[in-house]
Amino acid sequence: MKQYGKYLFLLPGLLVLTLFMIIPIAGTILSTFFDAGSFTLAGYMQYLQDPYFLNILWVTLRTSLLTTLICILLAFPAAYYISKCRPRMKMILLLLSIFPLLTSPVVRSFSWMVILGKGGIIDNTMALFGSDTSISILYTPTAILIGLVHLFLPLSIITLVGVMENIGDDVVEAAKSLGASASTTFWHILLPLSVPGLMTGSILVFVGSFTAYTTPALLGGRESVISTFLYQNAVTLNDWQLASVVATIMIVLSFVVIGIMNWLAGKVAVRGGNIRG
């Protein structure tokens, strides 16, 4: 009996998760397959044949994947630089990079509305170059994208710095001393060794932006994403049954994308396991 003792440590967390997450989610998912007591897929058929909903799904998926990609591209060089800094400088730069996380999403989104909206900095600058000011970026998927990248970039940077710190300078130097160019060193050494951090960061960013509500609600205007659509169904239309269907589709899609990411990561992953040689 004794060797099971250590599992007791899991119990509190497990209880909370079961009570407040697993049971409600199971309930949500189950409810989507039943209408008036009988099994049905009508809810799903209704959505998956609706071009309006499919468009929202596509926009959400595209926006969150783009957010993830842009975050990776922006975070990689920044994280590499930060990981090579001295401890004190590293602390300062990390604090600066998580700064966006410290402000409320509402405040942050309102700031972007000022910047991106009509008469905002972007519009005025564009006007200087003779651009058509009647089209503003605000209330477009681009605005959502900008807001989400701003929100999630810190996550990418933090997770990447975490793994990059553990890539020894000597490994990079070894590659160079063996004749590797800067690009070979990047593709064959740095990138593969960063995959664990890229994976963690990207999953966080993707799931975060796929399910984000405040930022798209404020910056997207009438442009719906899946979470705002879900909110409309549940609260405005008071159709919890259909909202549950949307929620289930979100959960399934998240898992599918994470699965694909994992598979992709496996292609370039660290097979040797431990980062340190």
Partner: protein
């Protein structure tokens, strides 16, 4: 003509000069080690030759070719790191093959060469393993194989054995020596371990504060240190600055207070500082009056070293350290006479003696 030649190179880090007007020449096929306390510039020198650092003056030549401004990846020098620096995500085969792939060696030749290397370092059948599955010694063998397989013009070792345990260090260093001699590639070997450097090198450079104080064959350094820094670094614990000297026929006599010392030497440098190892001082019980090369004193401490006892002896010219094998040791407080024979003394140039020197 020497194979490796550093002329007047200089490296500064944050406005502090680490190396200044530094020169070093290494003949074809020779293994020269750089030995010195931490911060003496030995690793800086090695990294400069490797190309990880740039000299802002002078030149670096290897095999008659100027390498001063050639980037690291175009140098073709094999570098062996202290922490092995294997690529953790690659198999042992891919680690060793990495350099060959950069050189666009055909698949077939790569396979042959990697297998040859694995045999040379005694790691046959390890090609499909990953670095984390290997012990420290095995990892360092892979690192050596990886550096050797590119047929480098020069081998550079940065304290390659310092992460290994004592027994393994001894066997690995003879292995490194064997491999280096078989390949006939000139090598620079950095270490702070005196015994390691002496056993592995054709010549040893003792460095202090960015300067080579002595570059010589290991035995020559061991027996004839040129400066007081070198002497203290290689274990001469006793220093005596003489007051004056006089020539008594063939044998020069040195004076310190009332004591006289005959000192034999090969070359007269006019130096007035004598050094002697603890092992070379004989301790006798006090009794008959002291004669030439003798000094009376009192035992302060006696430390059991296993084979011998180490005594701290207080004399009128300061304290001396002497080691002696004996069954019944002296006790602290005993009056003794130190016998320091002429041929055990070495005259050295005064240079800065590190603070830890006793």
């Amino acid at each position: 003509m020497s194979h490796v030649s550093l002329q007047n190179v200089a490296v500064a880090y944050q406005k502090t000069n680490i190396l200044e007007n530094f020169n070093l020449d290494i003949p074809e096929g020779e293994l020269v080690s750089l030995l010195g306390p931490s911060g003496c510039g030995k690793t800086t020198t090695l990294r400069l030759v490797a190309g990880f650092l740039q000299s802002h003056q002078g030149s670096i030549q290897v095999g008659g070719k100027d390498y001063t401004t050639v980037p690291v990846n175009k140098r073709n020098f094999g570098f062996v790191f202290q922490n092995y620096a294997l690529f953790p995500h690659m198999s042992i085969f891919d680690n060793i093959a990495f350099g060959l792939r950069q050189r666009k060696v055909s698949k077939k030749d790569t396979y042959t060469k990697v297998m040859e290397m694995l045999e040379l370092v005694g790691l046959q059948h390890f090609e499909n393993r990953f670095p984390k599955e290997l012990s420290g010694g095995q990892k360092q063998r892979v690192a050596i194989a990886r550096a050797l397989v590119i047929n480098p013009d020069l081998l550079l070792f940065d304290e390659p054995l310092s992460n290994l345990d004592a027994n393994l260090r001894v066997s690995m260093r003879s292995e490194i020596r064997r491999i280096q001699q078989e390949s006939g590639i000139a090598a620079i070997y950095v270490s702070h371990d005196q015994e390691e450097c002496f056993s592995i090198s054709d010549r040893v450079a003792i460095m202090n504060k960015g300067v080579i104080e002595q570059l010589d064959h290991p035995a020559a350094i061991y027996h004839r240190p040129r400066t007081s820094f070198v002497a203290s670094f290689i274990g001469f614990k006793n220093f005596l600055r003489f007051d004056r000297r006089s020539e008594n026929g063939q044998k020069p006599i040195f004076y310190k207070g009332d004591s006289t010392f005959a000192v034999s030497y090969e070359k007269d440098t006019g130096s007035m500082t004598g050094v002697i190892r603890p092992d070379d001082i004989r301790i006798k019980p006090a009794g008959p009056p002291v004669t030439e090369n003798e000094l009376s004193g009192t035992i302060i401490t006696a430390i059991f070293l296993g084979r011998s006892y180490q005594y701290e002896v207080k004399t009128e010219h300061g304290s001396f350290t002497a080691n002696q094998e004996m069954t019944i040791p002296f006790q602290s407080g005993d009056s003794v006479v130190l016998d320091m024979p002429p041929h055990k003394w070495v005259l050295v140039e005064e240079s800065e003696v590190p603070s830890y020197a006793g």
